[in-house]
Amino acid sequence: MSTPLLEVRDLKTHFHTKEGIAKAVDGISFEVYEGASFGFVGESGCGKTTAALSIIKLLPENGKIEGGQVLFRGEDLAAKSDEEIRLRRWKDISIIFQGAMNSLNPVMKISKQITEAIRLHEDISIPESRKRVKGLFTQVGLNPALLDQYPHEFSGGMKQRVMIALALACNPLLVIGDEPTTALDVMVQAQILDLLEDLRRSLHLATILISHDLSVIFDACERLAVMYSGKIVEMGNSREVYTRPAHPYTRKLVAAFPDLELEKQRKTGKRTLGKSIAGDPPNPLGRISGCKFHPRCEWADKRCSEEDPVSMEIGADHHVFCWKWDKIG
Protein backbone atom coordinates (compact mmCIF):
# COMPACT_ATOMS: atom_id res chain seq x y z
CA MET A 1 0.00 0.00 0.00
CA SER A 2 1.00 3.56 -0.63
CA THR A 3 1.41 6.31 1.92
CA PRO A 4 -1.67 7.43 3.76
CA LEU A 5 -3.37 10.48 2.26
CA LEU A 6 -5.25 11.01 5.46
CA GLU A 7 -4.22 9.85 8.85
CA VAL A 8 -6.52 10.39 11.77
CA ARG A 9 -5.11 9.88 15.24
CA ASP A 10 -7.15 9.60 18.42
CA LEU A 11 -9.78 12.04 17.17
CA LYS A 12 -12.26 13.22 19.74
CA THR A 13 -15.28 15.29 18.83
CA HIS A 14 -17.78 16.27 21.48
CA PHE A 15 -21.13 17.97 21.33
CA HIS A 16 -22.04 20.35 24.08
CA THR A 17 -25.77 20.14 24.65
CA LYS A 18 -27.86 21.54 27.44
CA GLU A 19 -28.23 18.03 28.84
CA GLY A 20 -24.50 17.51 28.93
CA ILE A 21 -21.57 16.56 26.77
CA ALA A 22 -22.12 13.99 24.06
CA LYS A 23 -18.92 12.24 23.02
CA ALA A 24 -19.94 11.69 19.42
CA VAL A 25 -16.46 10.66 18.39
CA ASP A 26 -14.46 9.32 21.26
CA GLY A 27 -10.90 8.72 20.18
CA ILE A 28 -10.72 7.05 16.81
CA SER A 29 -7.76 6.45 14.55
CA PHE A 30 -7.70 5.36 10.93
CA GLU A 31 -5.88 5.93 7.66
CA VAL A 32 -7.08 6.48 4.14
CA TYR A 33 -4.63 5.88 1.32
CA GLU A 34 -4.38 7.80 -1.91
CA GLY A 35 -6.80 6.53 -4.45
CA ALA A 36 -8.23 4.05 -2.02
CA SER A 37 -11.75 3.66 -0.67
CA PHE A 38 -12.56 3.54 2.97
CA GLY A 39 -15.94 2.98 4.62
CA PHE A 40 -17.62 3.71 7.91
CA VAL A 41 -20.50 1.57 8.97
CA GLY A 42 -22.69 1.57 12.03
CA GLU A 43 -26.12 2.32 13.38
CA SER A 44 -27.34 5.87 13.06
CA GLY A 45 -26.02 8.02 15.85
CA CYS A 46 -22.84 6.02 16.25
CA GLY A 47 -20.70 8.98 15.22
CA LYS A 48 -19.64 7.99 11.75
CA THR A 49 -20.90 11.15 10.09
CA THR A 50 -19.38 13.27 12.83
CA ALA A 51 -16.10 11.50 12.30
CA ALA A 52 -16.17 12.33 8.62
CA LEU A 53 -17.28 15.93 9.11
CA SER A 54 -14.61 16.44 11.75
CA ILE A 55 -12.01 15.93 9.06
CA ILE A 56 -12.91 19.27 7.50
CA LYS A 57 -14.21 20.77 10.71
CA LEU A 58 -17.71 20.99 9.30
CA LEU A 59 -19.34 20.65 12.66
CA PRO A 60 -22.46 22.25 14.08
CA GLU A 61 -21.94 25.16 16.44
CA ASN A 62 -22.00 23.03 19.54
CA GLY A 63 -19.59 20.44 18.15
CA LYS A 64 -15.91 20.76 18.88
CA ILE A 65 -12.81 18.73 18.19
CA GLU A 66 -11.48 18.07 21.67
CA GLY A 67 -8.37 16.19 20.79
CA GLY A 68 -6.42 14.22 18.27
CA GLN A 69 -4.95 14.96 14.89
CA VAL A 70 -6.23 14.94 11.35
CA LEU A 71 -3.15 14.64 9.18
CA PHE A 72 -3.89 15.35 5.55
CA ARG A 73 -0.75 14.82 3.54
CA GLY A 74 1.07 15.33 6.76
CA GLU A 75 -0.62 18.63 7.71
CA ASP A 76 -2.75 18.64 10.82
CA LEU A 77 -6.10 20.01 9.72
CA ALA A 78 -7.47 19.85 13.26
CA ALA A 79 -4.97 22.43 14.38
CA LYS A 80 -5.73 24.86 11.58
CA SER A 81 -7.88 27.95 11.94
CA ASP A 82 -11.40 28.00 10.55
CA GLU A 83 -10.33 30.36 7.79
CA GLU A 84 -7.48 28.11 6.68
CA ILE A 85 -9.74 25.11 6.72
CA ARG A 86 -12.37 26.96 4.79
CA LEU A 87 -9.96 27.47 1.89
CA ARG A 88 -9.07 23.80 1.88
CA ARG A 89 -12.63 22.61 1.81
CA TRP A 90 -13.83 21.34 -1.51
CA LYS A 91 -10.46 22.05 -3.10
CA ASP A 92 -8.81 19.15 -1.26
CA ILE A 93 -11.70 17.38 0.31
CA SER A 94 -15.29 17.47 -0.87
CA ILE A 95 -18.41 15.82 0.35
CA ILE A 96 -21.36 14.15 -1.30
CA PHE A 97 -24.38 14.53 0.89
CA GLN A 98 -27.64 12.74 0.63
CA GLY A 99 -28.43 14.58 -2.56
CA ALA A 100 -31.83 13.09 -3.02
CA MET A 101 -32.99 14.99 0.02
CA ASN A 102 -32.14 18.61 0.62
CA SER A 103 -28.50 19.11 -0.03
CA LEU A 104 -29.06 21.41 -2.94
CA ASN A 105 -30.35 24.93 -2.55
CA PRO A 106 -33.89 24.78 -3.96
CA VAL A 107 -33.97 28.35 -5.24
CA MET A 108 -30.62 28.41 -7.01
CA LYS A 109 -29.91 27.02 -10.45
CA ILE A 110 -27.73 23.91 -10.51
CA SER A 111 -25.12 25.59 -12.68
CA LYS A 112 -24.85 28.45 -10.24
CA GLN A 113 -24.41 26.12 -7.31
CA ILE A 114 -21.51 24.38 -8.97
CA THR A 115 -19.80 27.38 -10.50
CA GLU A 116 -20.04 29.08 -7.14
CA ALA A 117 -17.81 26.39 -5.68
CA ILE A 118 -15.36 26.51 -8.57
CA ARG A 119 -15.03 30.25 -8.62
CA LEU A 120 -14.57 30.33 -4.89
CA HIS A 121 -11.37 28.36 -5.11
CA GLU A 122 -10.11 29.12 -8.58
CA ASP A 123 -9.74 32.37 -10.39
CA ILE A 124 -11.60 31.56 -13.58
CA SER A 125 -14.28 33.30 -15.58
CA ILE A 126 -17.92 32.40 -15.52
CA PRO A 127 -18.01 30.99 -19.06
CA GLU A 128 -14.98 28.88 -18.28
CA SER A 129 -16.50 27.57 -15.10
CA ARG A 130 -19.68 26.78 -16.95
CA LYS A 131 -17.68 24.86 -19.47
CA ARG A 132 -16.18 22.86 -16.65
CA VAL A 133 -19.63 22.14 -15.25
CA LYS A 134 -20.76 20.87 -18.63
CA GLY A 135 -17.82 18.53 -18.60
CA LEU A 136 -18.67 17.37 -15.11
CA PHE A 137 -22.25 16.76 -16.16
CA THR A 138 -21.10 14.52 -18.95
CA GLN A 139 -18.74 12.80 -16.60
CA VAL A 140 -21.48 11.88 -14.15
CA GLY A 141 -23.86 10.90 -16.90
CA LEU A 142 -26.14 13.91 -16.95
CA ASN A 143 -27.33 15.78 -20.00
CA PRO A 144 -25.43 19.11 -20.03
CA ALA A 145 -28.58 20.73 -21.39
CA LEU A 146 -30.05 20.48 -17.90
CA LEU A 147 -27.44 22.78 -16.54
CA ASP A 148 -29.76 25.65 -15.76
CA GLN A 149 -32.51 23.66 -14.14
CA TYR A 150 -33.51 23.90 -10.52
CA PRO A 151 -32.95 20.96 -8.18
CA HIS A 152 -36.62 20.10 -7.86
CA GLU A 153 -36.76 19.37 -11.56
CA PHE A 154 -34.41 16.41 -11.08
CA SER A 155 -35.16 12.92 -9.88
CA GLY A 156 -33.43 11.56 -6.81
CA GLY A 157 -30.78 9.73 -8.79
CA MET A 158 -30.13 12.70 -11.00
CA LYS A 159 -29.75 14.91 -7.98
CA GLN A 160 -27.25 12.50 -6.59
CA ARG A 161 -25.31 12.71 -9.83
CA VAL A 162 -25.41 16.48 -9.51
CA MET A 163 -24.02 16.13 -6.03
CA ILE A 164 -21.21 14.01 -7.38
CA ALA A 165 -20.52 16.50 -10.12
CA LEU A 166 -20.46 19.20 -7.46
CA ALA A 167 -18.07 17.17 -5.35
CA LEU A 168 -15.70 16.76 -8.26
CA ALA A 169 -15.86 20.40 -9.28
CA CYS A 170 -12.51 21.41 -7.80
CA ASN A 171 -10.63 18.19 -8.51
CA PRO A 172 -10.31 17.13 -4.89
CA LEU A 173 -8.03 14.40 -3.63
CA LEU A 174 -10.52 13.02 -1.19
CA VAL A 175 -14.26 12.72 -1.54
CA ILE A 176 -16.41 11.85 1.42
CA GLY A 177 -19.77 10.28 0.67
CA ASP A 178 -22.15 10.65 3.58
CA GLU A 179 -24.90 8.12 3.01
CA PRO A 180 -24.73 8.93 -0.69
CA THR A 181 -27.23 6.33 -1.72
CA THR A 182 -29.66 6.26 1.13
CA ALA A 183 -33.19 7.13 0.09
CA LEU A 184 -32.54 6.03 -3.46
CA ASP A 185 -34.08 2.89 -4.75
CA VAL A 186 -31.84 -0.09 -5.14
CA MET A 187 -31.33 0.11 -8.90
CA VAL A 188 -30.30 3.76 -8.71
CA GLN A 189 -28.26 3.03 -5.64
CA ALA A 190 -26.22 0.54 -7.56
CA GLN A 191 -25.75 2.89 -10.48
CA ILE A 192 -24.50 5.63 -8.20
CA LEU A 193 -22.13 3.29 -6.41
CA ASP A 194 -20.79 2.08 -9.73
CA LEU A 195 -20.36 5.65 -10.90
CA LEU A 196 -18.46 6.52 -7.76
CA GLU A 197 -16.28 3.48 -8.16
CA ASP A 198 -15.52 4.32 -11.80
CA LEU A 199 -14.70 7.88 -10.97
CA ARG A 200 -12.50 6.85 -8.13
CA ARG A 201 -10.47 4.65 -10.39
CA SER A 202 -10.27 7.01 -13.32
CA LEU A 203 -9.52 10.12 -11.27
CA HIS A 204 -7.40 8.37 -8.70
CA LEU A 205 -9.55 9.69 -5.89
CA ALA A 206 -9.56 8.59 -2.36
CA THR A 207 -13.08 8.10 -1.02
CA ILE A 208 -14.62 7.71 2.37
CA LEU A 209 -18.12 6.28 2.27
CA ILE A 210 -20.44 6.41 5.22
CA SER A 211 -23.47 4.20 5.50
CA HIS A 212 -25.58 2.40 7.98
CA ASP A 213 -26.00 -0.22 5.32
CA LEU A 214 -23.33 -2.88 5.72
CA SER A 215 -23.93 -4.24 2.25
CA VAL A 216 -23.10 -0.90 0.65
CA ILE A 217 -19.83 -0.58 2.51
CA PHE A 218 -18.75 -4.17 1.98
CA ASP A 219 -19.48 -3.79 -1.66
CA ALA A 220 -17.94 -0.41 -2.30
CA CYS A 221 -14.97 -0.10 0.00
CA GLU A 222 -11.62 -1.79 0.15
CA ARG A 223 -11.21 -1.05 3.81
CA LEU A 224 -13.77 -0.26 6.45
CA ALA A 225 -14.29 0.66 10.07
CA VAL A 226 -17.25 -0.45 12.13
CA MET A 227 -18.28 2.22 14.59
CA TYR A 228 -20.28 1.89 17.74
CA SER A 229 -21.07 4.74 20.09
CA GLY A 230 -18.27 7.05 19.01
CA LYS A 231 -15.61 4.37 18.85
CA ILE A 232 -14.24 2.11 16.18
CA VAL A 233 -14.87 -1.46 17.28
CA GLU A 234 -13.41 -3.20 14.29
CA MET A 235 -11.40 -2.07 11.32
CA GLY A 236 -9.66 -3.57 8.38
CA ASN A 237 -9.90 -5.02 4.95
CA SER A 238 -13.50 -5.36 3.91
CA ARG A 239 -13.32 -8.94 2.78
CA GLU A 240 -11.41 -9.87 5.90
CA VAL A 241 -13.93 -8.24 8.20
CA TYR A 242 -16.81 -9.72 6.26
CA THR A 243 -15.51 -13.19 6.27
CA ARG A 244 -14.12 -13.18 9.80
CA PRO A 245 -16.11 -10.65 11.86
CA ALA A 246 -14.53 -10.60 15.28
CA HIS A 247 -16.38 -8.07 17.38
CA PRO A 248 -19.74 -9.24 18.72
CA TYR A 249 -21.33 -6.13 17.25
CA THR A 250 -19.90 -6.72 13.81
CA ARG A 251 -21.00 -10.30 14.01
CA LYS A 252 -24.50 -9.23 14.70
CA LEU A 253 -24.40 -6.71 11.89
CA VAL A 254 -23.18 -9.33 9.50
CA ALA A 255 -25.66 -11.83 10.80
CA ALA A 256 -28.39 -9.33 10.24
CA PHE A 257 -27.77 -9.79 6.52
CA PRO A 258 -28.24 -13.49 6.24
CA ASP A 259 -28.51 -13.34 2.54
CA LEU A 260 -25.50 -11.29 1.77
CA GLU A 261 -25.39 -12.02 -1.88
CA LEU A 262 -24.95 -8.58 -3.11
CA GLU A 263 -24.77 -9.49 -6.75
CA LYS A 264 -28.01 -11.33 -6.49
CA GLN A 265 -29.62 -8.46 -4.73
CA ARG A 266 -28.59 -6.12 -7.46
CA LYS A 267 -29.87 -8.32 -10.16
CA THR A 268 -33.23 -8.93 -8.59
CA GLY A 269 -33.49 -5.35 -7.40
CA LYS A 270 -34.78 -6.68 -4.14
CA ARG A 271 -33.50 -5.54 -0.85
CA THR A 272 -33.40 -7.94 2.02
CA LEU A 273 -34.08 -6.13 5.17
CA GLY A 274 -31.65 -7.08 7.85
CA LYS A 275 -32.77 -8.37 11.17
CA SER A 276 -32.58 -5.71 13.77
CA ILE A 277 -30.18 -6.07 16.62
CA ALA A 278 -31.62 -6.63 20.07
CA GLY A 279 -31.44 -3.74 22.48
CA ASP A 280 -31.24 0.01 21.93
CA PRO A 281 -28.22 1.93 20.81
CA PRO A 282 -26.70 3.70 23.79
CA ASN A 283 -27.61 7.20 24.77
CA PRO A 284 -24.82 9.41 23.42
CA LEU A 285 -24.86 11.30 26.70
CA GLY A 286 -24.58 8.17 28.80
CA ARG A 287 -21.31 7.36 30.47
CA ILE A 288 -20.75 3.71 29.89
CA SER A 289 -17.51 2.53 31.38
CA GLY A 290 -15.43 -0.10 29.71
CA CYS A 291 -16.60 -1.43 26.38
CA LYS A 292 -19.51 0.66 25.16
CA PHE A 293 -21.18 -2.40 23.77
CA HIS A 294 -21.16 -4.42 26.94
CA PRO A 295 -24.76 -3.73 28.01
CA ARG A 296 -25.94 -5.33 24.79
CA CYS A 297 -23.27 -8.00 24.63
CA GLU A 298 -24.14 -11.50 25.71
CA TRP A 299 -20.48 -12.38 26.26
CA ALA A 300 -19.59 -9.39 28.38
CA ASP A 301 -17.97 -9.97 31.73
CA LYS A 302 -16.70 -7.78 34.53
CA ARG A 303 -13.63 -6.65 32.66
CA CYS A 304 -15.69 -5.54 29.70
CA SER A 305 -17.64 -3.21 31.95
CA GLU A 306 -14.55 -1.76 33.57
CA GLU A 307 -11.75 -1.44 31.06
CA ASP A 308 -11.72 0.13 27.65
CA PRO A 309 -10.80 -2.54 25.12
CA VAL A 310 -7.60 -1.90 23.20
CA SER A 311 -6.86 -2.48 19.57
CA MET A 312 -5.86 -6.02 18.82
CA GLU A 313 -4.44 -7.05 15.51
CA ILE A 314 -6.06 -10.31 14.61
CA GLY A 315 -5.06 -10.65 11.00
CA ALA A 316 -3.51 -8.84 8.10
CA ASP A 317 -5.06 -5.39 8.23
CA HIS A 318 -7.70 -6.51 10.69
CA HIS A 319 -8.04 -4.88 14.10
CA VAL A 320 -10.67 -5.43 16.74
CA PHE A 321 -11.45 -3.64 19.98
CA CYS A 322 -12.80 -6.40 22.19
CA TRP A 323 -11.55 -8.26 25.23
CA LYS A 324 -13.43 -11.38 24.39
CA TRP A 325 -13.14 -11.69 20.65
CA ASP A 326 -11.22 -14.88 20.85
CA LYS A 327 -13.60 -16.38 23.42
CA ILE A 328 -16.57 -16.19 21.13
CA GLY A 329 -17.40 -19.26 19.23
Partner: protein, 322 residues
Protein backbone atom coordinates in the same frame (compact mmCIF):
# COMPACT_ATOMS: atom_id res chain seq x y z
CA UNK B 1 -48.30 24.11 -15.51
CA UNK B 2 -47.71 27.41 -13.91
CA UNK B 3 -50.64 28.96 -15.74
CA UNK B 4 -52.87 26.29 -14.30
CA UNK B 5 -51.62 27.07 -10.83
CA UNK B 6 -52.24 30.71 -11.48
CA UNK B 7 -55.68 30.08 -12.92
CA UNK B 8 -56.57 27.96 -9.96
CA UNK B 9 -55.52 30.64 -7.53
CA UNK B 10 -57.39 33.34 -9.40
CA UNK B 11 -60.52 31.21 -9.54
CA UNK B 12 -60.31 30.63 -5.80
CA UNK B 13 -59.88 34.34 -5.20
CA UNK B 14 -62.90 35.12 -7.38
CA UNK B 15 -65.08 32.62 -5.54
CA UNK B 16 -63.98 34.11 -2.25
CA UNK B 17 -64.75 37.60 -3.49
CA UNK B 18 -68.22 36.54 -4.58
CA UNK B 19 -68.96 35.00 -1.21
CA UNK B 20 -67.64 38.12 0.45
CA UNK B 21 -70.04 40.10 -1.73
CA UNK B 22 -72.96 38.03 -0.51
CA UNK B 23 -71.89 38.24 3.11
CA UNK B 24 -71.30 41.90 2.63
CA UNK B 25 -74.75 42.54 1.27
CA UNK B 26 -76.87 40.43 3.56
CA UNK B 27 -74.93 40.99 6.76
CA UNK B 28 -75.47 44.69 6.51
CA UNK B 29 -79.18 44.29 5.82
CA UNK B 30 -79.75 42.54 9.13
CA UNK B 31 -78.13 45.27 11.16
CA UNK B 32 -80.53 46.64 13.74
CA UNK B 33 -82.20 49.97 13.30
CA UNK B 34 -83.52 51.69 10.26
CA UNK B 35 -80.87 53.40 8.20
CA UNK B 36 -83.45 55.96 7.18
CA UNK B 37 -83.67 57.34 10.67
CA UNK B 38 -80.01 58.16 10.51
CA UNK B 39 -80.39 59.49 7.04
CA UNK B 40 -83.37 61.68 7.74
CA UNK B 41 -82.82 63.38 11.02
CA UNK B 42 -86.12 65.09 10.76
CA UNK B 43 -88.66 63.17 12.81
CA UNK B 44 -91.45 65.01 11.01
CA UNK B 45 -90.31 64.13 7.53
CA UNK B 46 -93.23 63.77 5.19
CA UNK B 47 -94.13 60.39 3.73
CA UNK B 48 -93.20 61.73 0.32
CA UNK B 49 -89.80 62.80 1.49
CA UNK B 50 -89.20 59.42 3.11
CA UNK B 51 -90.36 57.66 -0.01
CA UNK B 52 -88.13 59.84 -2.09
CA UNK B 53 -85.15 59.13 0.11
CA UNK B 54 -85.89 55.42 0.04
CA UNK B 55 -86.00 55.45 -3.72
CA UNK B 56 -82.85 57.52 -3.87
CA UNK B 57 -80.96 54.99 -1.78
CA UNK B 58 -82.73 52.01 -3.26
CA UNK B 59 -84.23 50.96 0.05
CA UNK B 60 -87.74 50.60 -1.34
CA UNK B 61 -87.00 47.39 -3.27
CA UNK B 62 -87.16 43.83 -2.04
CA UNK B 63 -83.91 42.29 -0.82
CA UNK B 64 -83.21 40.13 -3.89
CA UNK B 65 -83.87 43.08 -6.16
CA UNK B 66 -81.60 45.22 -4.02
CA UNK B 67 -78.96 42.51 -4.24
CA UNK B 68 -79.25 42.36 -7.99
CA UNK B 69 -78.96 46.10 -8.26
CA UNK B 70 -76.06 46.03 -5.87
CA UNK B 71 -74.14 43.55 -8.03
CA UNK B 72 -74.99 45.48 -11.17
CA UNK B 73 -73.78 48.72 -9.67
CA UNK B 74 -70.62 47.11 -8.39
CA UNK B 75 -69.73 46.12 -11.92
CA UNK B 76 -70.00 49.78 -12.79
CA UNK B 77 -67.80 50.52 -9.77
CA UNK B 78 -70.78 52.23 -8.22
CA UNK B 79 -70.80 51.53 -4.50
CA UNK B 80 -73.85 53.62 -3.81
CA UNK B 81 -74.20 56.84 -1.88
CA UNK B 82 -73.04 57.25 1.69
CA UNK B 83 -75.87 58.09 4.09
CA UNK B 84 -73.53 60.05 6.29
CA UNK B 85 -71.68 62.07 3.72
CA UNK B 86 -74.38 61.98 1.10
CA UNK B 87 -71.69 61.56 -1.49
CA UNK B 88 -70.77 58.55 -3.60
CA UNK B 89 -69.08 55.93 -1.46
CA UNK B 90 -66.17 55.69 -3.85
CA UNK B 91 -65.55 59.38 -3.40
CA UNK B 92 -65.72 59.18 0.39
CA UNK B 93 -63.45 56.17 0.57
CA UNK B 94 -61.16 57.64 -2.03
CA UNK B 95 -60.45 60.59 0.22
CA UNK B 96 -59.41 58.32 3.06
CA UNK B 97 -57.34 55.76 1.22
CA UNK B 98 -54.32 58.04 1.03
CA UNK B 99 -53.81 58.53 4.77
CA UNK B 100 -54.31 54.84 5.47
CA UNK B 101 -51.92 53.84 2.73
CA UNK B 102 -49.40 56.30 4.07
CA UNK B 103 -49.75 54.99 7.60
CA UNK B 104 -49.75 51.35 6.57
CA UNK B 105 -46.98 51.85 4.05
CA UNK B 106 -44.63 53.64 6.39
CA UNK B 107 -45.22 51.29 9.28
CA UNK B 108 -45.03 48.20 7.09
CA UNK B 109 -41.75 49.32 5.60
CA UNK B 110 -40.36 50.15 9.01
CA UNK B 111 -41.60 46.86 10.38
CA UNK B 112 -40.30 44.80 7.46
CA UNK B 113 -36.86 46.37 7.43
CA UNK B 114 -36.41 46.42 11.18
CA UNK B 115 -38.21 43.15 11.75
CA UNK B 116 -36.15 41.25 9.23
CA UNK B 117 -33.01 42.85 10.53
CA UNK B 118 -33.92 41.94 14.10
CA UNK B 119 -34.79 38.42 13.03
CA UNK B 120 -31.42 38.01 11.38
CA UNK B 121 -29.58 39.43 14.36
CA UNK B 122 -31.51 37.19 16.74
CA UNK B 123 -31.02 34.12 14.60
CA UNK B 124 -27.33 34.67 14.26
CA UNK B 125 -26.98 35.14 18.00
CA UNK B 126 -29.18 32.21 18.76
CA UNK B 127 -29.56 31.62 22.48
CA UNK B 128 -27.50 34.66 23.35
CA UNK B 129 -28.78 37.66 25.23
CA UNK B 130 -29.65 39.54 22.02
CA UNK B 131 -31.80 36.65 20.93
CA UNK B 132 -33.55 36.28 24.25
CA UNK B 133 -34.11 40.02 24.37
CA UNK B 134 -35.57 40.07 20.88
CA UNK B 135 -37.90 37.21 21.60
CA UNK B 136 -39.03 38.69 24.90
CA UNK B 137 -39.73 42.08 23.42
CA UNK B 138 -41.53 40.51 20.48
CA UNK B 139 -43.70 38.46 22.75
CA UNK B 140 -44.48 41.45 24.91
CA UNK B 141 -45.45 43.48 21.85
CA UNK B 142 -47.59 40.61 20.70
CA UNK B 143 -49.43 40.47 24.01
CA UNK B 144 -49.97 44.21 24.12
CA UNK B 145 -53.25 45.35 22.59
CA UNK B 146 -52.43 47.82 19.81
CA UNK B 147 -54.62 50.57 21.19
CA UNK B 148 -52.98 50.29 24.59
CA UNK B 149 -49.55 50.65 23.06
CA UNK B 150 -50.79 53.74 21.27
CA UNK B 151 -52.15 55.22 24.48
CA UNK B 152 -48.96 54.51 26.35
CA UNK B 153 -46.93 56.17 23.61
CA UNK B 154 -49.24 59.19 23.76
CA UNK B 155 -48.81 59.29 27.51
CA UNK B 156 -45.04 59.32 27.18
CA UNK B 157 -44.33 61.26 24.01
CA UNK B 158 -47.24 63.68 23.91
CA UNK B 159 -48.35 64.23 27.47
CA UNK B 160 -45.15 63.99 29.47
CA UNK B 161 -42.57 65.08 26.94
CA UNK B 162 -44.72 67.01 24.54
CA UNK B 163 -42.61 65.89 21.61
CA UNK B 164 -45.23 64.83 19.13
CA UNK B 165 -48.81 65.72 18.39
CA UNK B 166 -51.16 62.93 19.27
CA UNK B 167 -53.98 63.55 16.90
CA UNK B 168 -54.71 64.03 13.23
CA UNK B 169 -52.51 63.77 10.20
CA UNK B 170 -51.53 67.41 9.88
CA UNK B 171 -51.98 70.44 12.04
CA UNK B 172 -55.55 71.05 11.05
CA UNK B 173 -56.04 73.77 8.48
CA UNK B 174 -52.50 75.01 8.97
CA UNK B 175 -50.82 77.06 6.32
CA UNK B 176 -47.17 76.51 5.76
CA UNK B 177 -44.37 78.84 4.83
CA UNK B 178 -42.61 76.15 2.86
CA UNK B 179 -43.30 72.73 1.51
CA UNK B 180 -40.57 71.46 3.76
CA UNK B 181 -42.43 72.64 6.85
CA UNK B 182 -45.55 70.98 5.60
CA UNK B 183 -43.60 67.79 5.22
CA UNK B 184 -42.17 68.10 8.73
CA UNK B 185 -45.64 68.68 10.08
CA UNK B 186 -46.89 65.54 8.42
CA UNK B 187 -43.86 63.67 9.67
CA UNK B 188 -44.36 64.70 13.27
CA UNK B 189 -47.99 63.64 13.12
CA UNK B 190 -47.13 60.39 11.43
CA UNK B 191 -44.45 59.47 13.92
CA UNK B 192 -46.46 58.07 16.83
CA UNK B 193 -49.18 56.19 14.92
CA UNK B 194 -46.66 54.71 12.53
CA UNK B 195 -44.38 53.65 15.37
CA UNK B 196 -47.31 52.08 17.19
CA UNK B 197 -48.40 50.05 14.21
CA UNK B 198 -44.83 49.21 13.26
CA UNK B 199 -43.99 48.00 16.76
CA UNK B 200 -46.85 45.53 16.75
CA UNK B 201 -45.60 44.21 13.43
CA UNK B 202 -41.86 44.28 14.06
CA UNK B 203 -42.09 41.59 16.70
CA UNK B 204 -44.03 39.33 14.37
CA UNK B 205 -41.82 39.84 11.38
CA UNK B 206 -38.73 39.51 13.53
CA UNK B 207 -39.89 36.20 14.94
CA UNK B 208 -40.91 35.07 11.52
CA UNK B 209 -37.55 35.88 9.99
CA UNK B 210 -35.71 34.44 12.94
CA UNK B 211 -37.44 31.09 12.93
CA UNK B 212 -37.43 30.95 9.16
CA UNK B 213 -33.72 31.67 8.98
CA UNK B 214 -32.95 29.20 11.74
CA UNK B 215 -34.99 26.60 9.94
CA UNK B 216 -33.16 27.27 6.70
CA UNK B 217 -29.79 27.29 8.42
CA UNK B 218 -30.48 23.82 9.71
CA UNK B 219 -31.14 22.58 6.19
CA UNK B 220 -28.70 20.27 4.46
CA UNK B 221 -27.93 22.62 1.61
CA UNK B 222 -26.49 25.10 4.10
CA UNK B 223 -24.04 22.41 5.16
CA UNK B 224 -23.26 21.89 1.49
CA UNK B 225 -22.60 25.58 1.10
CA UNK B 226 -20.31 25.55 4.10
CA UNK B 227 -18.56 22.48 2.83
CA UNK B 228 -17.91 24.26 -0.44
CA UNK B 229 -15.81 26.68 1.56
CA UNK B 230 -18.06 29.71 1.58
CA UNK B 231 -17.60 32.17 4.39
CA UNK B 232 -20.30 32.00 7.02
CA UNK B 233 -21.52 35.44 5.98
CA UNK B 234 -21.78 34.34 2.38
CA UNK B 235 -23.53 31.16 3.37
CA UNK B 236 -26.21 33.17 5.14
CA UNK B 237 -26.42 35.85 2.48
CA UNK B 238 -26.40 33.69 -0.62
CA UNK B 239 -28.16 30.59 0.62
CA UNK B 240 -29.82 31.61 3.87
CA UNK B 241 -31.74 34.78 3.02
CA UNK B 242 -33.23 33.81 -0.33
CA UNK B 243 -34.78 30.75 1.24
CA UNK B 244 -35.64 32.31 4.60
CA UNK B 245 -37.42 35.24 2.99
CA UNK B 246 -39.91 33.02 1.19
CA UNK B 247 -42.23 32.33 4.11
CA UNK B 248 -41.71 35.85 5.39
CA UNK B 249 -42.88 37.35 2.12
CA UNK B 250 -46.00 35.23 2.20
CA UNK B 251 -46.70 35.96 5.80
CA UNK B 252 -46.38 39.68 5.26
CA UNK B 253 -48.95 39.70 2.48
CA UNK B 254 -51.30 37.42 4.36
CA UNK B 255 -50.76 39.54 7.43
CA UNK B 256 -52.51 42.44 5.77
CA UNK B 257 -55.81 41.43 7.34
CA UNK B 258 -54.20 41.67 10.73
CA UNK B 259 -52.51 44.92 9.90
CA UNK B 260 -55.88 46.38 9.06
CA UNK B 261 -57.15 45.44 12.50
CA UNK B 262 -54.18 47.30 13.91
CA UNK B 263 -54.86 50.26 11.65
CA UNK B 264 -58.44 50.58 12.89
CA UNK B 265 -57.21 50.79 16.45
CA UNK B 266 -54.34 53.12 15.70
CA UNK B 267 -56.52 55.40 13.62
CA UNK B 268 -59.07 55.52 16.43
CA UNK B 269 -56.54 56.33 19.10
CA UNK B 270 -54.68 58.92 17.04
CA UNK B 271 -57.69 60.32 15.14
CA UNK B 272 -55.92 59.47 11.91
CA UNK B 273 -58.26 60.36 9.05
CA UNK B 274 -58.10 57.01 7.30
CA UNK B 275 -60.20 54.05 6.31
CA UNK B 276 -60.06 52.54 9.79
CA UNK B 277 -61.60 55.52 11.49
CA UNK B 278 -64.02 55.94 8.64
CA UNK B 279 -65.18 52.39 9.17
CA UNK B 280 -65.65 53.04 12.85
CA UNK B 281 -67.66 56.18 12.16
CA UNK B 282 -69.69 54.47 9.46
CA UNK B 283 -70.49 51.71 11.91
CA UNK B 284 -71.70 54.16 14.53
CA UNK B 285 -73.84 55.94 11.99
CA UNK B 286 -75.11 52.77 10.35
CA UNK B 287 -73.99 54.03 7.01
CA UNK B 288 -74.60 50.75 5.15
CA UNK B 289 -73.34 51.70 1.73
CA UNK B 290 -70.18 53.14 3.19
CA UNK B 291 -69.63 50.19 5.51
CA UNK B 292 -70.21 47.80 2.66
CA UNK B 293 -67.82 49.71 0.50
CA UNK B 294 -65.10 49.70 3.12
CA UNK B 295 -65.65 46.09 4.07
CA UNK B 296 -65.57 45.06 0.45
CA UNK B 297 -62.50 47.14 -0.25
CA UNK B 298 -60.67 45.70 2.73
CA UNK B 299 -61.68 42.14 1.86
CA UNK B 300 -60.65 42.53 -1.74
CA UNK B 301 -57.37 44.06 -0.67
CA UNK B 302 -56.69 41.11 1.57
CA UNK B 303 -57.73 38.61 -1.06
CA UNK B 304 -55.65 40.34 -3.69
CA UNK B 305 -52.74 40.50 -1.29
CA UNK B 306 -53.05 36.77 -0.81
CA UNK B 307 -53.15 36.22 -4.52
CA UNK B 308 -50.21 38.52 -4.92
CA UNK B 309 -48.26 36.59 -2.35
CA UNK B 310 -48.99 33.40 -4.26
CA UNK B 311 -47.70 35.02 -7.43
CA UNK B 312 -44.69 36.40 -5.67
CA UNK B 313 -43.99 33.00 -4.27
CA UNK B 314 -44.17 31.64 -7.75
CA UNK B 315 -41.54 34.09 -8.86
CA UNK B 316 -39.32 33.59 -5.86
CA UNK B 317 -39.59 29.87 -5.44
CA UNK B 318 -38.98 27.84 -8.59
CA UNK B 319 -40.52 24.79 -6.94
CA UNK B 320 -44.03 26.20 -7.03
CA UNK B 321 -44.16 26.44 -10.79
CA UNK B 322 -44.40 22.72 -11.29
Amino acid sequence: MSSRYLGNKIAQALITIFIVLCINFFLFRIMPGDPLSMLMRNPRASQQAIQKAKEFYGLDQSLPVQFGRYLQDLLKLDFGVSFMFKKPVTEVIGGKVGPTLLLLGVSEIMAIVLGIYLGIVAASHRGKIVDIGTISVSLLLYSLPTFLLGMVLILIFSVYWGLFPSTGMVTAAARYATLWRQFLDLLSHLFLPAITLALTLIGEYGMLMRSSLLEVLSEDFIVTARAKGLREREVIRKHGYPNALLPVVTAISINLGLTIAGAIQVETVFSWPGIGRLMYDALNNRDYPLLQGIFLLVCICVIVANLFSDLLYMVLDPRVKS
